[in-house]
């Protein structure tokens, strides 16, 4: 049991932090980038690729770095620290993760290297209007047509759906939910992109007999989707930790400098106590998120660990996000000032793949099955593991 980063992981964190702090040295830069399509900075995306981060979790034989969940967590937290709008989790962890898990070797060879180089931005087109946070598809149907497949239906909101070069699409097939690849320039594909409240992008993606390639060997991929969603939920938890960390730091700084009634705000215990409670929320959430990544690394029950991380970071994110604005006062609600953007991003993270209530409900369904929870034991740590 060890909660500390090794020296390579610490180096990775410093390198990513350096890159992102240069890219987003102030909140105005992020605001400008977010104001223009595609909602992130293509140059920063290239720099992330040069550092190897866009291929971080992929096998080396496919042009990746062969790194594990801890490294992904480190990058996600740094993204959150400056709320960089680059779609690292959406493209690399989630869409890329599905490709790495399900695709044929040939497909991996074509796609993973291109993703790692920054040449191809994939996204996972999965959300549908009228349902939420489920691993199965219902609004898009796949039909076999000769050697290939066509898709029909609508996905929305699809993160960066208008910018994406390739879409991994979940669709109804006989016996469950299949996964398909659709090229951005495919016939019968209509993409209508828009800005989201947190400054990133989403799209309505319409398939009308759109040609698609089966990802991997086909069949029902619900389990693979659930696994990828769980891994992305853990990564989002780390992005949230980074965002909360900065929101609290900015708030504490503000309390030390802003004067009212002739004194700085940190003279008011009503305010400092609330900041202390924010710290408590943050540290409890941080421990849980780090643990979930260790469970993933150890090959334990990722779905359950992800629910635990999501529940804790969701509750913490809402607490810290709302209090960060309140402790600032009016300036916290303005777009000119940074802190509100953190709250907005935390709110988006909370709803993309499942919020705290969603995770709590899932954990509640199994609460009767266990007497106690041992985070270092089964089902989280496979037995016989080496220390």
């Amino acid at each position: 049991m060890d909660f500390t980063f090794d020296s390579e992981q610490s180096d990775l964190r410093e390198a990513v932090r350096g890159l992102l702090e240069r890219a987003y040295s102030d909140s105005e830069t992020r605001r400008k980038v977010a104001a223009n399509d595609p909602g992130f900075d293509e140059k920063t995306w290239s720099r992330l690729a040069e550092m190897g981060l866009l291929g971080l979790p992929f096998a080396e034989e496919h042009g990746g770095m062969g790194a594990g969940p801890i490294e992904v967590a480190i990058v996600a937290e740094e993204i959150g620290r400056v709320i960089a709008p680059e779609p690292f989790i959406e493209a690399v962890v989630l869409a890329g993760g599905l490709i790495a898990a399900v695709a044929s070797d040939e497909q991996k060879g074509e796609l993973l290297g291109a993703i790692a180089e920054g040449a191809c931005v994939p996204t996972f087109a999965h959300a549908e209007i009228g349902t939420r946070w489920t691993p199965s598809a219902s609004a898009v149907t796949a039909t076999q047509a000769g050697d290939g497949w066509t898709l029909t239906g609508v996905k929305e909101p699809v993160p960066h759906g208008a910018r994406a070069d390739v879409l991994v699409v979940s669709a109804v097939v006989d016996g469950g939910t299949g996964l398909f690849l659709v090229q951005g320039d495919a016939a019968g594909l209509t993409r209508t992109g828009y800005r989201t409240h947190d400054g990133t992008r989403a799209a309505n993606v319409r398939f009308d007999g759109t040609p698609a390639a089966l990802l991997g060997t086909g069949g029902d991929q619900t389990a693979a989707i659930e696994q990828a969603l769980a891994e992305a939920r853990i990564a989002y938890s780390h992005e949230a930790i980074g965002a909360m960390d900065t929101a609290l730091r900015i708030t504490a700084e503000y309390l030390k400098t802003r004067k009212q009634f002739g004194v700085t705000l940190n003279r008011f215990q009503a305010l400092t106590f609330r900041a202390a409670d924010m710290y408590v929320s943050l540290e409890l959430a941080r421990s849980t998120a780090l643990w979930a990544s260790m469970v993933q690394d150890a090959g334990g029950d990722v779905a359950s660990a992800a629910d635990r991380a999501r529940l804790q970071t969701s509750r913490a994110g809402r607490h810290i996000g709302k209090e960060a604005i309140q402790l600032h006062g009016g300036i916290g609600v303005t777009a000119e000032y940074s802190v509100g953007h953190y709250t907005s991003r935390l709110t988006a993270i909370d709803h993309l793949l499942g919020d705290g209530d969603f995770a709590a409900a899932r954990l509640a369904r199994t609460v009767a099955e266990r007497e106690t929870v041992d985070p270092l034991g089964a089902p989280y740590a496979p037995s016989g593991g080496v220390g």
Partner: protein
């Protein structure tokens, strides 16, 4: 980063688990599990069983019975003890005065007190709080005035937990009323509770129990050799002692036990023919608490792993704050599961209300104390805001 315990620590955990569940008498552990009244004799018996196996004071210096364990080993020791419903070694002895004497006492005092303190041959009580010095401990007014080879102690202490069982008291006294800072004029004296001039008045608590007391001192004559550390150094020792008090105060294993009991009882109570545990709202409430407890346990593991230098990690305030809140939430949950049965607190023989439901409310009411003692949660927020956030 690594999830699993090392094979050595796994073995250590197993060793602790086996010891606690086989060597400490079952009837004592059942009493702790049922939140019943643990007698003085049962505390003493348990601590002697632990001490004989070197498990009563592992955090002390090796010379005085310590084990030179890592913070993580100590954490496992404590958690397994709580999970097994073992009454922990008396805090006043094991966590408070023992470490203080070992760190600040002279050789004669160490030889005189430490072995007996570890074995609970001496039962200590804490003379810190006073009617006008609670969280603001440094305002204490009990005085000790030098008279030849003795100190003469006058004043009053309060909230003296289990003072009715105590053989000796360690007592903060004002020895220099003229000191520039009130913290600088305080000394630590120890003396027997049967010294002439010491009287004790029990305070009944809202649960109907007697665990705290007022202690009055009227011209109590204490030999000068009973001063621990140097004159007017008492505040340093008080801070050292309170820092130790915070370690392990999260009581995660104990709350885990309560949540397991809550599930068990929520299975026994049926609502419209279905177990209460199947009610989605109840299940979600337990799941939320359970998750917060996981988060706290993981935070405790992070803290112990990073406090190898022996100083409490600043985040230990998080453990006290959240640990007390979760203990209270678990006791509240048990009352709510007991529902109408929870009013039968003092039912006698002839009542059919199960024991767990009888003790639920008194336990809940009694546990309001945990966010007050050991530095109230407001003190912990002050520490977090000040030392961590720089506010």
């Amino acid at each position: 980063m690594r999830l699993q315990l090392s094979p050595e620590l796994e073995a250590f955990r197993e060793e602790m688990r086996t010891f606690f569940t086989t060597q400490v008498p079952q009837e004592i552990r059942d009493k702790v599990a049922g939140h019943g009244h643990v007698s003085k004799e049962e505390y003493v018996e348990t601590q002697r069983v632990l001490n004989a196996a070197g498990l009563a004071v592992p955090h002390w210096p090796v010379e005085w019975g310590g084990r030179d364990w890592t913070p993580l080993q100590r954490h496992i020791w404590r958690e397994e003890m709580q999970l097994a419903n073992v009454p922990e070694p008396l805090a006043f002895n094991a966590s408070m005065i023992g470490p203080v004497i070992a760190a600040f006492g002279n050789q004669e005092q160490k030889e005189r007190f430490l072995a007996k303190t570890a074995n609970l041959d001496i039962w200590w009580c804490q003379g810190f709080s006073e009617p006008d010095a609670g969280s603001d401990l440094a305002s204490l007014r009990t005085t000790a005035v030098r008279d030849g080879d003795d100190w003469i102690v006058n004043g009053q202490k309060t909230w003296t937990t289990l003072g009715q069982h105590a053989d000796w008291i360690f007592c903060l006294c004002r020895t220099d009323p003229t000191a520039e800072k009130k913290q600088r004029g305080i000394s630590l004296l120890v003396f027997p509770m049967d010294t002439p001039g010491v009287t004790l008045r029990p305070i009944e608590l809202i649960d109907g129990g007697f665990e705290v007391n007022e202690v009055f001192f009227e011209d109590v004559r204490v030999p000068a050799e009973n001063l621990i550390g140097e004159e007017n150094q008492g505040w340093t020792m008080a801070k050292f002692l309170l820092g130790n008090e915070r370690v392990g105060i999260a009581r995660i294993g104990s709350t885990k036990r309560m949540l397991a009991q809550a599930k068990e009882h929520a299975r026994e109570i049926t609502v419209d023919g279905r177990p209460l545990l199947d009610d989605p709202f109840m299940a979600a409430r337990i799941a939320e608490l359970e998750n917060e407890l996981v988060a706290l346990e993981l935070t405790a593991l992070r803290v112990v792993a990073n406090s190898a230098d022996g100083k409490p990690h600043p985040a230990s305030s998080v453990l006290k704050l959240k640990g007390s809140e979760l203990q209270q939430a678990a006791t509240e949950l048990l009352v709510d599961i007991a529902g109408p049965l929870s009013v039968a607190s003092f039912a006698l023989e002839g009542s059919d209300v199960p024991d767990w439901a009888r003790v639920a409310t008194p336990h809940y009411l009694n546990y309001r104390k945990v966010s007050i003692y050991g530095g109230s949660n407001e003190v912990q927020r002050t520490i977090i805001a000040g030392t961590i956030l720089g506010l």
